[in-house]
């Protein structure tokens, strides 16, 4: 469902991705690993359409209605409506907007794009409360402003809750494990595992192997200096954990 060919991208005039290739099919979980500054976060932001990142060459095709379309020409909200979801490394605070309103606005804009009726507040609330169990969040979070005053772990869980509600076809998890203690990590990872289905795909961007103890990827890729320099199965992650990245260079 996702085909990336020879992708080059810059941020603030500096080239960060330098010819990246990646192919993701439905039902797969890919882990992108690599040292700091290798371009991992850039990749997820480029795919979601962050305006600060400029694609200078290469192509990204994404399957919409059984056709491979040029993803790069779509506005970020259109990408979201077509099933791409980015779980942020640093979720953004939205003061004054409560979580329930935010989730419902988001959910309804996506379902309406697909020609379905928007859900009313009452039904939506029931629906969300069910989803909240996946990440062990209590209902109080619905009345709180989005991410405002949330702890690091709560913010990450809130991202996974959004993912559960919006049911994306392609989920990009950007360093979702960073800053989590072991309990929060387990909750988040279990949440992700429950959302793993044969018709959706997940790309995990992570610095550490520890997340992969809970979410078993089908493929592991090593990103270095803006390119994927090695790909393998989950055993590659273990090797990286033991030996670091140096042996690859």
């Amino acid at each position: 469902m996702l085909e990336i060919k020879n992708l080059h991208a810059t941020v603030d005039g500096k080239e960060v991705l330098k010819g990246l290739n990646l192919s993701v099919k439905a039902g797969e979980v890919h882990a992108i690993m690599g040292p700091n500054g290798s371009g991992k976060s850039t990749l997820s932001k480029v795919l979601a359409g962050h305006p600060s990142y400029e694609v200078t060459s290469g192509e990204v095709k994404y399957e919409i209605n059984f056709q491979m379309k040029n993803l790069l020409e779509l506005e970020p909200e259109v990408r979201a409506k077509e099933g791409i979801f980015l779980a942020f490394q640093y979720p953004i605070e939205v003061p004054g907007v409560n979580n329930l309103t935010f989730l419902r606005t988001s959910f309804n804009s996506i379902v309406e794009h697909h020609g379905s009726e928007p859900m009313n507040e009452e039904d939506f609330k029931k629906f969300v409360i069910k989803k909240m169990k996946i990440v062990s969040m209590n209902e109080d979070f619905l009345d709180r402003a989005v991410n405002v005053g949330f702890s690091g772990g709560e913010k990450k869980r809130n991202e996974i809750l959004q993912m559960a509600v919006l049911a994306p076809r392609l989920a990009l998890l950007d360093e979702t494990d960073s800053g989590l203690d072991i309990d929060a990590l387990r909750i988040v990872a279990e949440g992700v595992n429950k959302l793993r289905k044969k018709d959706n795909a997940i790309v995990l961007v992570t610095h550490y192997q520890r997340l992969l103890e809970y979410i078993k990827p089908d493929f592991v890729h090593v990103l270095s200096k803006g390119k994927i320099i090695k790909s393998g199965d989950s055993s590659l992650a273990l090797k990286l954990e033991k030996e670091g990245y140096d042996w690859l260079n």
Partner: protein, 478 residues
Amino acid sequence: MDNKRNSLQQDYKYGFTTDIETESMPKGLNENVIGLISKKKNEPEWLLEYRLKAFRHWQKMICPQWAKVHYDPIDFQEISYYSAPKKKSEGPQSLQDLDPELLKTFEKLGISLNEQKRISGVAVDFVFDSVSLGTTHQEELDKAGVVFCSISEAVHKYPELVRKYFGTVVPFSDNYYAALNAAVFTDGSFCYIPKGVRCPVDLSTYFRINAKDTGQFERTLLVADEGSYVNYLEGCTAPQRDENQLHAAVVELIAHENAEIKYSTVQNWYTGDKEGRGGIYNFVTKRGKCVGKRSKISWTQVESGSSITWKYPSVILQGDESEGSFYSVALTHDRMQADTGTKMIHIGKNTKSTIISKGISTGHSSNTYRGLVKIMPGAENARNYSQCDSMLVGHDSGAHTFPSIEVKNKTAQIEHEASTSRISEDQIFYLQSRGLSMEQSISMLVNGFCKDVFKQLPLEFSVEAVKLIEMKLENSVG
């Protein structure tokens, strides 16, 4: 993209004019004109004298320059001080007897004068140019003993009440525009809530400027007697014209012991065009006096119109344990200039005031908060909390805050918080990545920013305010 262009063209949906026969005075201001206005209204001698005194005082005053707004000097001789739709017949009229063109105008503004279709639960007084066209819900109000009529009518029907309170909160010597208003005011609303009465419906005045080259100078006087309660709403619109028009109103509120007045405004006067041509100069003096113990006055305003706004709804906290509050959202776009805020004057013991001000500036506009919290020597244990937040959208707009605090009693507790923020690219991206468009994202961020003020508005008004802000933002952000 196309949608954005369309919405630009329908910028201001209230910009139409009503084609109607009017009776206007020629342009110019002098004692004769004031005499004519007074005669037209068949006013008692004291009121004419009051007007003339105010006029003579005004002539000695100079136009205030301290506000952070810029405009060419106003030629007060180029304004007509009276314009009214011609009456079909003499004698009292009911709202149903109005010219159909006028009725259509109010339908277009979304207000139905038709008694069957009228807004339920809200009694409305309509002020069109210089005159009040009438008030709805009279029967219901009569039953409760609530007086709600035009000020011209009140001068005749309730002379003692008017004379007792008129000009006691805002004397004509208060400031330049208050003096001008006192000299030439033509109409406005009067209301009196008797002791112990909780007003059965919300009261509302809708101001509409229609005639060209005319100024609107209305006067509102609202008295809440002991233990009474009233919720008052005010809305304003004007046609789109290339010339500036002056609106200089005075609003006085008086709250006796244990009375509570909530006064809300959604101000949507014409703002002028993208280059700043035309628009209303909104120079308004609004002040409330908490005369009695434990009385409460609260001002809530959504200021989204006018090319220049100069307005400081204030509260004098005279009664012990009285409370004043000011909740404000001011949105400026294109070339608009707003200088708005409040004064809280603590005189009584254990008085309390709250100020929440949210300014949003977009385009090339300038948005200023100016406030004064004053604790007088006798105001033991006075408390104030102020929060002034500014939000900048784009890179060409300006936000300014001028808070003053004067404390003459050391038992006072004052808290002041202020912030300036910009909507960040990351915030917009976050919302877009959840399927919201750029416009939806910005309006969600702005609504979140204004939430503490919007929740103070009555429900219908708050829905309207949110829509208004969204529409304005759609047009000014791109």
